[in-house]
Point group: C2
Chain length 452, copies 2
């Protein structure tokens, strides 16, 4: 029974069989097989077939299921897919969705089409969506939905339940009733659970929870996510600057924000500059990678120019060149480790800036321990492998200094980026590696020059 | 009013003033100031003061608030902090929490103490927690709470509401009632919202939702997270292998799973081997970093040994050495970019293995475009900067090959790791960088050897 939903797995066999049904226009087969599958699973099918084929089997589904699928599609696929629809067909699909999802989809459409779709929406919904379209996607106003249940503080429980019956038609999922005064100012909330277990004659004013957490329309999505995580909320009311209730944000939107955030950080660490996915076009994939590769190339050319200054030393002892990869790789690794730990601390909502000084002292000791261990190890290995005593000493001294400096730069860069409002994850990527490559080389050749 | 909660920010001024109150044992000040602050905000204070100081102000708080704070602490801090308590004091605090949180905390205690605390819990809770302790922390059984509201399919709505009143005392937050048959087998769910808006004389059997998604006790947390995300659930029922309802998992636990997952991936990419945080001890920080640094060092020594084979060439044209950083950095960057895109695809719940071949062809084209662009650019730059024509050609040819090979290895490694059940993010870290360093060097010197 409930297993059905979980057991659906998109296999090659299923896809081939389904393709055949599409080719044969075998509507009965398609309808029967899709009837057993949840909308969220049908959504995955749209990534597998051409948009024309997708449209063909979508048209065989009930319109509410179509709406749900449209809502769950990735923006890029949805954009391509909706090109097959006329504006008033899109309106029909959107009429089944919540205002926040509609606003997100409308943002993706060309302006002219957006206006036409908007005109064909149901009047109440049109008003709500128009209001939401004003907000940027990354603030609370852009995340919130207008659909919510509000109760006046002077109602009785019975009145409240009556009103919920009326309002609930337009609100699909809700867990809380928001309590407002006559002017719509947010006062608190009442969980459905408290409503159910309360005496019917009580007043809302006697049983609602005051002092609740709310967010303001202009608050950034990251902040909203942190607040909902911290206070373990499934939904949070959104108020405007005057404290009037204007919407609510539910946890599923926040789960998306958290997931996207993690993805963005990972891309920054990997040196990919746009929001790109593997299945995007070859050109877009190329373009997203180039900027960071260019920084690396620029760093590499600077490295080459710098080594050129020591051509005399290199000509005298060729073996000097053997150890640049060792020095640079270690510098890179230490730098990335340091900065990613700072990035992690900054991402922690309980993060308190405990003072740069205390932090640096600790980083310094960790670096000394790691540096000592590694340079002694390398000293032993080099003497065994290359029998070059003085060069081996030079390499170990340079290695120790590189560990120290790379820790310092890796620690300080994300803090500085964060201070100036950039994503600190930027510092855990190719940026720090390139800097550390140059740093490592400089320290190494400086030591060579001094000692050898 | 509701702004209070949000406006609390742990400033240095607040901390200093609070420290002074602690030193002066100014209980009135402490109680007054903490009365205005939410539990989740007081929690942050425990990271700021010694555990003895924390215990001092915690003792001034109502016991429910203390319980909530204990629940929200990071495991390491909690472990240290709870050492100040006797087992039966811990039981008093835990009695206010949900079974899943209690089980998590008990897992952290030494076995003897765990048994003592367990004995002092309220009987019903003791039974529930004992059952939960059987499960590993990373499976559904270890995430779930025992507290849930169950309704029999043959009840009327009125009966159901009555029962909810009785059961709700033990269940803090719930959004759904789970519908079971006489043997406790899960049949479906009934949202509170449907319960409120339904006619009181209707049967649960007529209004509940069948075909719901459930998870089994042994399912891994990652999978549970994917399912809850995919179907946008705020809570999911957990059944045992026979389909009997044994618990429920709520979205806040899943938000934690997603956050930890992202952190783990980030640490893998940064080459940090244990679950370490910046504020852990110096020794632990050092130890967590060493393994990957050692791999880097090993790679570096191999690089050195390898370059030694070409000592003659290097002695003849010293400038060959200038370009090893450029080649290696580019190889590393390209490799990390490729693997992180694959890691991202694998993390996507809609990921379908579209065939290795198709994927590789695309990666190949992206690599050719990037490789061509970069090597032409570098050719121009090198000729301008160094006036060494044949060496410049060698560098560009090697660079082009490195981009191609590094893309290939970066793509294939996470797929292989994933196939054999390892975290593919492993491949986006120092592992791939070290491999690519060696690869780059080999390709470069091979080209040098052939052409120069």
């Amino acid at each position: 029974m409930e297993q059905q939903a979980l057991e659906f797995e998109l296999t090659k066999e299923f896809r081939d069989r389904f393709q055949q049904a599409l080719d044969d226009h075998d509507d009965v087969f398609i309808q029967n097989i899709l009837h057993e599958v949840k909308a969220a699973d049908i959504t995955t099918l749209l990534y597998e077939f051409t948009i024309e084929e997708s449209k063909y089997f979508m048209d065989l589904l009930p319109v509410e299921v179509q709406s749900e699928i449209i809502r769950d599609l990735e923006p890029d696929t949805r954009k391509r897919y909706l090109k097959l629809y006329k504006p008033n067909d899109i309106s029909v699909l959107l009429n089944n969705l919540l205002s926040d999802d509609i606003a997100d989809i409308l943002h993706e459409l060309p302006v002219k089409e957006r206006e036409e779709v908007l005109l064909d929406l149901e009047p109440v919904l049109r008003g709500q969506v128009t209001e939401l379209l004003r907000y940027e996607a990354y603030v609370a106003g852009g995340l919130m939905a207008k659909e919510l249940i509000r109760a006046r503080v002077n109602w009785t429980v019975v009145q409240c339940v009556e009103e919920i019956r009326k309002q609930a038609e337009n609100v699909s999922k809700f867990y809380q009733v928001y309590v407002v005064d006559e002017t719509d100012k947010l006062l608190g909330r009442l969980s459905l659970q408290d409503l159910i277990i309360s005496d019917a004659r009580k007043l809302v004013g006697d049983i609602y929870e005051k002092d609740i957490v709310s967010v303001e329309t202009y608050m950034e999505d990251r902040e909203v996510a942190e607040i909902m995580k911290k206070y373990e909320l499934v939904s949070v009311p959104v108020v405007n600057v005057h404290g009037y209730l204007v919407g609510r944000i539910t946890i599923d939107d926040i789960v998306d924000v958290i997931t996207e955030q993690a993805e963005e950080d990972r891309q920054m660490m990997a040196g990919i500059s746009e929001n790109v996915e593997e299945d995007d076009s070859i050109w877009r994939n190329t373009r997203a990678r180039l900027p960071w590769l260019l920084i690396g190339i620029f760093g590499g050319l600077m490295n080459a120019k710098f080594m050129g200054l020591f051509e005399a030393e290199l000509a005298r002892v060729t073996a000097i060149a053997f150890f640049t990869p060792l020095i640079q790789a270690t510098g890179g690794n230490v730098g990335i480790q340091s900065s990613s730990l700072i990035v992690q601390s900054l991402a922690n909502p309980n993060f308190v800036d405990e003072g740069l000084w205390k932090r640096l002292v600790k980083v310094f000791f960790v670096a000394i321990l790691n540096g000592l261990f590694l340079s002694i190890l390398v000293l032993g290995a080099n003497i065994l492998l290359f029998q070059e005593y003085s060069l081996s000493f030079v390499v170990s001294i340079a290695l120790f200094s590189v560990v120290l400096f790379a820790s310092f730069i890796g620690t300080i860069t994300p803090l500085i980026l964060n201070r100036f409002g950039f994503n600190p994850a930027l510092a855990a990527g190719p940026f720090i590696t390139t800097t550390n490559d140059l740093l490592g080389l400089t320290l190494y050749f400086f030591t060579v020059h001094l000692i050898l």
